[in-house]
């Protein structure tokens, strides 16, 4: 009897696996088809509209205007978005696209995270990709969007005060539990050296230690990419009120996917206690 149940279970999971694979295949192929069609039609459309503007520049200008305007149509925009990648294989170009789109839409802080520390180890590669995609997606106006890259602790770059500035932070599991443990060690050392007593320790003290000097707000929204349904160690302390929206994959992700998620965030209602 147990064998029969096991066979049914295996069959059920095989079906689900096939269904997932099909859905993923369709998503990628339909997106590629859409992109090809748009790539063909958009220059034509612009050609009719503004005969004076040359193709690529016209396309980029219209896109920049579109990003900013669309950002303003949303009821609320997150201040800080976390991009949580649960997939094993990471496509840096797609991540860079996401970061640039977030900035263009008007999100001030973007964090990028994976639980194996791949982003942390390839920090410079990610930075390069982001700058490259910034050029490509935003064209002439990319200078208006300055990006500050922050690594944990070691970064001492000056803040550039320009009109649209975003901060991109690269995170790894060390920024989660390990940071809390380090803060705990610091407090215990203070107690050991009789600078503090155990009664002085409370949520606010710990919170201020974890915030350090950077004053980055807690993530309002986490976009989780990939099939794994978990936060995989992403900033446990900071995600107390964070909305977690799942996306199927970061590979070949489109601006429309991102905007759809932002729209969904805008409709989330945080009922405050009452």
């Amino acid at each position: 009897m147990a064998l029969l149940y096991e066979m049914v279970w295996r069959f059920l999971h095989a079906l689900l696996y096939v269904q997932r694979a099909l859905v993923a295949w369709f998503r990628v192929h339909i997106w590629r088809w859409k992109r090809a069609v748009v790539g063909l039609l958009l220059p034509l459309a612009l050609g009719f509209h503004n005969p004076k503007k040359t193709g690529p520049v016209g396309k980029r200008t219209s896109r920049r205007v579109r990003f900013g305007a669309e950002g303003r149509t949303l009821e609320k925009l997150p201040l800080h978005v976390g991009l949580l990648i649960t997939e094993e294989e990471i496509h840096f170009t797609d991540i860079a696209n996401l970061v640039v789109w977030c900035m263009a839409v008007g999100i001030s802080y973007v964090s990028v995270y994976d639980n194996q520390g791949v982003f942390r180890r390839n920090n410079s590669r990610l930075m390069e990709e982001i700058l490259k995609q910034q050029q490509e997606l935003l064209g002439m106006d990319s200078s208006k969007y300055s990006v500050e890259f922050m690594k944990n602790g070691t970064d001492k770059q000056e803040h550039q005060v320009l009109s649209c500035q975003s901060v991109v932070k690269v995170l790894s599991p060390d920024d989660g539990r390990l940071s809390i443990v380090q803060a705990a060690q610091q407090l215990c050392q203070a107690v050991e050296q009789r600078e503090k007593t155990s009664k002085d320790i409370n949520v606010n003290v710990l919170d201020s230690l974890l915030r350090e000097s950077k004053n980055i707000p807690d993530p309002d929204l986490v976009l989780k990419f990939g099939p794994v349904e978990s936060t995989l160690g992403f900033l446990p302390w900071h995600i107390r009120l964070t909305e977690i929206i799942s996306m199927p994959s970061h590979v070949d992700v489109s601006y429309d996917d991102l905007f759809g998620a932002l729209q969904r965030y805008a409709t989330c209602e945080q009922r405050l206690g009452k």
Binding site: R177, V181, V191, S198, I201, V203, P227, T231, P236, G273
Partner: protein, 356 residues
């Protein structure tokens, strides 16, 4: 400020008459189809500990045009039913979010009403001893009980003491709880350990912090389910659910069905392998960090001792093993002392109740 969906669960008004007072565990067997489905699921990996954020009572009441109290009443019924399903599926540990520390900011009237409710529920629990013993249910209450009115503290302590010896299944009720308070409290306890000279600040680690949480007697939840379509954690088990499967379901809590639970378990099974991998990776990292910490402590010690002679690898290794053993002993003593402190607190409260 986060929302206190679960305080809605607590907002139940117990109807008059003993027969209509709701039980904490429903007595109802599964239907044939439910049993078959359960058995199929059990052929795969099953979660051993499930956490519930039971959200949606008020919306349910609005939807079905009943009083808010009725919505909460149904919510509590659903909890009892869900516990039964979990037992049937072999899930022996359930954690639920009942009352948040943030809830104290509500109006005095509302808070008093909620406290009265809790009194009634825990009193009811004390009258159900045989039933709970039959199922071997151990009730634990996680949170900062000192924030509650004294008589409620005593009632809770009695309930906890009464079911302490049971070990077939565990129900953890988070009351006067938020995850941040829990973590800060764990740090406070470690600082207390340092003050008492039981541990050193260098003994503080990921693992030790986990052992100082209110939930230290439970394994981390494998699966966290939140109903009513909200997709946030709302300050619940933030530390413990880092590598748990999170399932957000749009069904309202009072409408939760056995099939919804199966759907969540299925989701858990699909993510199981990746989560196992992530957890193993994390455990490896923890072990590595601990080893590094021990090494640097030993290096410091040897420097202090410093008799000028460089140590050979073998002696260094021996020193490291010695240090690790003594650290583990220190930590063990500290954790015993902490458990004693907590047990004494509960038993004192419980005996006060008897005297009163």
């Amino acid at each position: 400020m986060c929302r206190h969906f679960l305080s809605e669960e607590e907002d139940v008004i117990v109807q008059t008459g003993e027969s209509t007072v709701m039980s904490w565990i429903r007595e109802r067997e599964l239907s044939f189809l439910e049993r078959v489905t359960g058995n199929i699921l059990k052929a795969g990996p099953m979660p051993k500990h499930v956490a519930f954020i039971m959200d949606g009572n008020r919306r349910f009441a609005q939807k079905t045009h009943v009083e808010r109290q009725e919505g909460h009443s149904q919510g509590f019924e659903k909890l009892a039913e869900t516990l039964r399903w979990c037992l049937n599926l072999g899930i022996h540990e359930v954690t639920v979010y009942a009352f948040s520390i943030e809830n104290f900011k509500r109006s005095k009237e509302e808070v008093d009403g909620l406290m009265e409710l809790a009194r009634q529920k825990f009193s009811r629990l004390l009258t159900e001893q045989e039933n709970l013993e039959k199922h071997g249910v151990c009730i634990r209450v996680l949170g900062d009980l000192t924030l509650l009115p004294t008589d409620l503290q005593q009632l809770i302590a009695k309930a906890v003491m009464a079911t302490k010896a049971h070990n077939k299944c565990f129900l953890n009720v988070c009351f006067a709880y938020t995850s941040r308070h829990e973590i800060a409290n764990a740090v406070k306890e470690m600082a207390w350990g340092v003050e008492q000279g039981l541990i050193k600040s260098s003994d503080v680690s990921d693992v030790l912090l986990g052992e100082c949480l209110y939930s230290s007697n439970s394994p981390n939840p494998d699966l966290l389910i939140r109903t009513s379509g909200e997709v946030r954690l709302s300050d619940f088990l933030l530390w413990q659910t880092s590598y748990s499967c999170l399932v957000f379901q749009s069904v309202l809590w009072p409408e939760y069905s056995f099939w919804n639970l199966c759907e969540a378990v299925l989701q858990y099974q699909l993510s199981h392998r990746s989560l196992q991998k992530a957890r193993d990776l994390h455990r490896e990292d923890q072990a590595l960090q601990q080893m590094e910490a021990d090494r640097s402590c030993v290096a410091e010690l040897l420097q202090h001792r410093g008799n000028g002679k460089p140590m050979d690898a073998q002696s260094r290794q021996k020193e490291l093993l010695n240090y690790t053993a003594s650290r583990e002993e220190r930590v063990r003593c500290f954790l015993n002392a902490l458990q004693n402190k907590r047990d004494t607190f509960i038993s004192d409260l419980s005996s006060q109740a008897v005297v009163a």
